[in-house]
């Protein structure tokens, strides 16, 4: 039986608001999921649906109000700080905003190699830099000049996101959490990145892929969970979520997503205006 990498059991998170008059909001309500090795899960939801908070709870960056998370078999709330660090070293995390995810003063290659140097020390520096260079090449950043330019000046939004992905993959994580990793890419590079990630998943890496695009979810993961205002409103294989959505919100998501194929059937454009959905 392949071992479970991650279990989340009834995880809830409450943000008290600074202003006493207004009560706080529940970012997450009773989210449960199980992720086995080599499996990938898509989290589908809009901004404010709690997807980013869930990733941060899983990594132990914030404490959940109730429920617990087991990472590689250890409960992150009760384990020691040192073992939590060890757990995190087996995970990779690609944050949503590409601008805050990279140290601006380092060069691109340093930024990618840095996690390896922190974990394995400077003596394995050559190893780190060759791994970093290889990763950057696979993600389409090949120009030598770019590798040594400072992150702050040399990179476009799309390149910066790919460097962040490389930085998360350098430690050969057994669990990769990525929050809309292809939001800044255009169509062609988007599928390339997903192929790179899928290849890693086939080699045994588990992945949680956050997106608002159901088609992207199907391409990146076999299983999907739809989040609405912190609650899981539907969970199924990504194929059935697309073809036979149950929950009203999932239906609206599918209807709202423009596709080329639906656009070219003559009638689709006329009935576009009728199936209104108000959340």
């Amino acid at each position: 039986m392949t071992n479970t990498i991650l279990t989340a059991n009834k995880v809830s998170l409450f943000y008290p608001s600074r202003d006493p008059k207004m009560e706080g909001i529940w970012a997450l309500k009773d989210i449960s999921l199980i992720l086995k090795q080599g499996e990938s899960l898509a989290l589908i939801g809009e901004s404010g649906s709690g997807k980013t908070s869930l990733l941060r709870v899983i990594l132990g960056l914030i404490q959940s109000t109730s429920g617990y998370v087991e990472l590689f078999g250890e409960n992150i709330n009760t384990c020691t700080h040192h073992s939590l660090i060890e757990l995190r070293r087996k995970c990779g995390y690609v944050p949503q905003d590409p601008y805050g995810s990279l140290p601006p003063t380092l060069s691109v290659i340093d930024a990618v190699a840095e996690p390896w140097l922190i974990v394995y020390g400077r003596k394995s520096r050559l190893d780190a830099y060759s791994k970093a260079r290889h990763l950057l090449h696979t993600l389409g950043i090949t120009e030598e000049r770019l590798l040594f330019s400072q992150v702050r000046f040399g990179l476009s939004g799309g390149q910066r996101q790919r460097v962040a992905i490389a930085r998360a993959l350098i430690l050969e994580p057994r669990l990769l959490l990525c929050d809309e990793p292809t939001s800044m890419q255009d169509a062609s590079t988007r599928s390339e990145i997903i192929e790179v990630l899928n290849k890693r998943v086939k080699e045994g890496m588990s992945m949680i892929f956050v997106t608002h695009d159901l088609y992207l979810a199907r391409a990146a993961a076999s299983h999907g969970m739809v989040l609405l205002k912190g609650e899981c409103c539907e969970e199924n294989s990504t194929k059935t979520l697309l073809t036979a959505p149950q929950h009203n919100y999932t239906k609206a998501l599918v209807a709202a997503l423009p596709t080329l194929s639906s656009a070219i059937q003559r009638d689709s454009r006329t009935n576009l205006l009728h199936n209104q959905y108000t959340p």
């Binding site: 040192h82 944050p95 805050g100 003063t105 996690p115």
Partner: protein
């Protein structure tokens, strides 16, 4: 870094610093010494006034010619300690007359005659109300001052005779109300402005860094208290407080530095706090901490390289403020009178009536000195700010 060394402000600062260090050794006249009558004008001004000069006769020089194209001097003074082989007389030959100033006997003679002594006036049979200097130096032309033997044999003389003529002009920048040489005062003033300016700002920046980091990192209660304190200190007039403290506590240089820094750290504290807040929440720092990177590593590898340029720019821009504050307090006469500073010079110029004499050469040097130092540090600050974000460079140029 190299481009900094080619910057005009850096080179000028270096030159001024070296000048102020070498000053005590190189200057012929010490700043506190009274060298000429008060309010004498600089040499290159009012050429008709005679410069203050000192004519000496000694063993082998018994005669000195003085070219005198000027108006008469204000005061004269004769002093000497000599031994003579032959009785002779101290003589001043004017183009038309000849005056015997003093009779010298054989052997040891010591004398100290001032132009206003009555006995001296009678010996030269002038009226007691006569002005000796304008009588003696009434015409323009060639004067000779010599020791003339009573009989023909040339005398041998040991020791020196000095003939002080107090005129209206002196040195490069004239003299102040106490007759001290303004140029050497000006050079000595550099030291105070530089020391106070730089050390007060450094101390203030350290305080700012300390409070900024704490309120940035700690957040919550400490943050609100510190920031409320900063708001309050920024909303009250600081000079009156400095005046009171300086008047009663801070007579010395270092007390003044302490007081100045106590009330100028708020700006840096705010910038450092903003910087720490933005860095603390950025996800890559969180990620590094998550991977177990030691805090020292994070501080050294990430926080410092990012905050340093901003901090340096902050310091460079803070120095003019400190220099002006010190100058202000000394101008108000609240600083230690023994310490020579540009502010003090301006204070004395103002309160001892540089105006009634129109002595603009007393005002310009210290004032322009302060301005120059401030401009230098402003330029250095601008240069450092341009290192932080290059578009700033563009913004000023276009």
């Amino acid at each position: 870094m190299m481009s900094l060394f080619r910057r005009w402000s850096f080179l000028l600062l270096l030159f001024i610093a070296v000048l102020s260090i070498l000053a005590p050794f190189s200057l012929s006249v010490s700043p506190n010494q009274e060298v000429a009558p008060p309010f004498s004008t600089p040499l290159w001004l009012k050429r008709n006034l005679p410069p203050t000069m000192k004519i000496t006769l000694s063993e082998n020089i018994l005669k000195k010619n003085i070219a005198w194209p000027y108006n008469p001097p204000t005061q004269i003074h004769l002093s000497g300690e000599i031994t003579l082989s032959v009785p002779s007389a101290l003589v001043l030959e004017t183009p038309t007359q000849k005056f015997v100033l003093h009779h010298l006997t054989v052997g040891k003679n010591t004398f100290d005659i001032d132009g206003r002594d009555l006995s001296f006036k009678q010996r030269l049979n002038f009226s007691p109300f006569a002005q000796i200097p304008s009588e003696l130096f009434s015409e323009k032309g060639e004067y000779i001052f010599r020791v003339e033997p009573d009989f023909s044999a040339p005398p041998e003389m040991r020791g020196t005779i000095t003939f002080d003529i107090k005129g209206g002009r002196w040195g490069l920048l004239g003299t102040d109300q106490r007759g001290r040489d303004i140029f050497s005062l000006f050079i000595a003033g550099i030291r105070v402005s530089l020391i106070v300016g730089i050390s007060a700002t450094l101390l203030a920046s350290l305080l700012g860094l300390f409070f900024g980091l704490i309120s940035g990192y700690a957040g919550g209660w400490t943050d609100t208290i510190i920031m409320r304190g900063v708001d309050i200190l920024l909303s009250i007039p600081i000079l009156p407080i400095l005046m009171v403290l300086a008047a009663y506590w801070g007579k010395g240089l270092w007390q003044l530095v302490l007081i100045l820094s106590l009330f100028s750290w708020m700006g840096t504290a705010r910038t450092v706090r903003a910087m720490t807040l933005s860095l603390r929440d950025s996800s890559y720092i969180e990620g590094l901490r998550g991977l177990g990177a030691p805090t020292f590593y994070i501080l050294w590898r990430h926080l410092l390289p990012e905050t340093l340029p901003l901090l340096l720019a902050n310091i460079a821009l803070g120095v003019p403020g400190a220099i002006l504050a010190e100058a202000g307090i000394s101008f108000l006469g609240l600083s230690d009178p023994r310490i020579i500073s540009w502010g003090r010079m301006l204070h004395e110029a103002h309160s001892f009536g540089a105006f009634t004499r129109g002595a603009w050469w007393m005002l310009l040097p210290p004032g322009l000195g302060i301005t120059l130092l401030c401009l230098i540090f402003l330029d250095l600050g601008k240069f450092l700010e341009e290192q932080i974000d290059p578009q700033l460079k563009g913004a000023l140029k276009q």
